[in-house]
Amino acid sequence: MIMDNKQHIFENLVHAYSAELYRFAFWQCKNKDLAEDMLQECFSRAWKALHKLDDENAARAWLYTILRREIARHFGRKSSNELSLDTLELEVLQLDSITHKYNCSLSDDLNLRQALDKIPTDYRDALLLQVLGGYSCEEIADMSNTKSGTIMTRVFRARQKLRQLLTDEKSSSANSQ
């Protein structure tokens, strides 16, 4: 009966979160087969450690944490150096002037995906957790075992970089015409 309950919980977790976890893994792995492998490993570890999960409300964040560790283990990732948020004021002003100058639209899905693929991994990691996962910067900081200020810098830089890449794409298209 205990095993039946464990099996039932596990099945519910898979059905509830496998899709969004796959999407997160896809962007981090940039390969759908590897993303699925990472997800398999994630749930394999989750099954073995399911007895440690006490709070159902923490299940989603717990799974994300396991998945991110699997991906980091696979790629042997090291953390990047971060700038403080205060030093980015000038960059904000510069980017706003660029987008205003070219009156460009940032709604091209394909270009956005290509741009998303190009931004640094740590930035993409934090941005996807915020956008896909809906987590706050504080929650992401807890999951990453870092400070919320660091996460805020990462998501800021991620959006900034995306807009820069898309703006560069638009301006090069405009020049070629």
């Binding site: 796959y22 915020q130 805020m152």
Partner: protein, 239 residues
């Protein structure tokens, strides 16, 4: 709060509900437009990031988990069987170590068994208890044997397992030589036999309820065994 701070905040958290920022947006058109563009951008980002999920993904995850669990259960069962089998072997050996020895001994001749026994317990050859006749006969009494007279200085007398049953192990000293007598009830021999093996030699003489082995050193006097044999034949009693 100035427009730079607002832009920074909106770039970090486009959907912020910060009251100060919301208040700023109400009277700053530029920042309000920026907020809208950031929210639109995030909507697009969300759509772009939502790549298609492979068909059957959840089912494949559950299938792999099922096989993994089945494999683990098999491995656990195998380990339990292996542990149970090991315990059974240990228990069997522990309880039947004597039987094991008996099985091994049953393939040996009685002469070899007698010599091996004395060789294995040669420390008794150094005992110096000086056991009196009455005490010796009390050891022999369960085996329905007694000695009428003293047969020599008895340095040791005790019971021992000998092949399939128990016998009496006696170390006696006579004429400055030492001999071991093994009283072996149930070990019948039809005739007197003898054997030399290693450091020892033995003569086995038949008795009414089995046999007695006289084991001496190969260096002992030629007629020492014979003297002991004659003494035993004269003094042994069956009770």
């Amino acid at each position: 709060m100035n427009c730079i701070d607002v832009h920074r905040k909106l770039t970090t958290i486009p959907s912020t509900q910060d009251e100060l920022i919301l208040a700023h947006l109400e009277h700053c058109t530029a920042c309000a437009n920026f907020a809208k563009s950031m929210n639109d951008f995030d909507q697009t980002l969300h759509t772009a990031a939502n790549v298609d999920v492979p068909d059957g993904l959840a089912e494949r995850i559950l299938l792999k988990q099922s096989f993994s669990q089945q494999h683990q259960q098999r491995a656990t069962r195998f380990k339990l069987y292996a542990i149970a089998a090991s315990l059974l072997i240990v228990a069997t050996l522990s309880l039947n170590i004597n039987n094991l020895n008996s099985i091994l001994n049953s393939s040996l001749s009685l002469e070899d068994i007698a010599i091996n026994h004395v060789s294995d317990e040669r420390h008794h050859l150094n005992d110096r208890e000086n056991i009196q006749l009455a005490k010796l006969n009390s050891v022999l009494q369960p085996f329905n044997i007694a000695f009428k007279d003293k047969i020599g200085r008895i340095n040791y007398a005790g019971t021992c397992p000998i092949r399939n049953s128990r016998g009496v192990h006696i170390v006696l000293q006579k004429e400055n030589e030492t001999a071991t007598l093994l009283v072996m009830p149930g070990e019948y021999v039809s005739n007197r036999t003898s054997r030399v093996k290693g450091d020892f030699k033995t003569v086995i003489i038949p008795t009414q309820n089995g046999s007695i082995a006289i084991v001496t050193s190969i260096n002992s006097q030629a007629d020492f065994e014979k003297n002991i044999e004659n003494t035993l034949n004269q003094t042994i009693q069956y009770i």
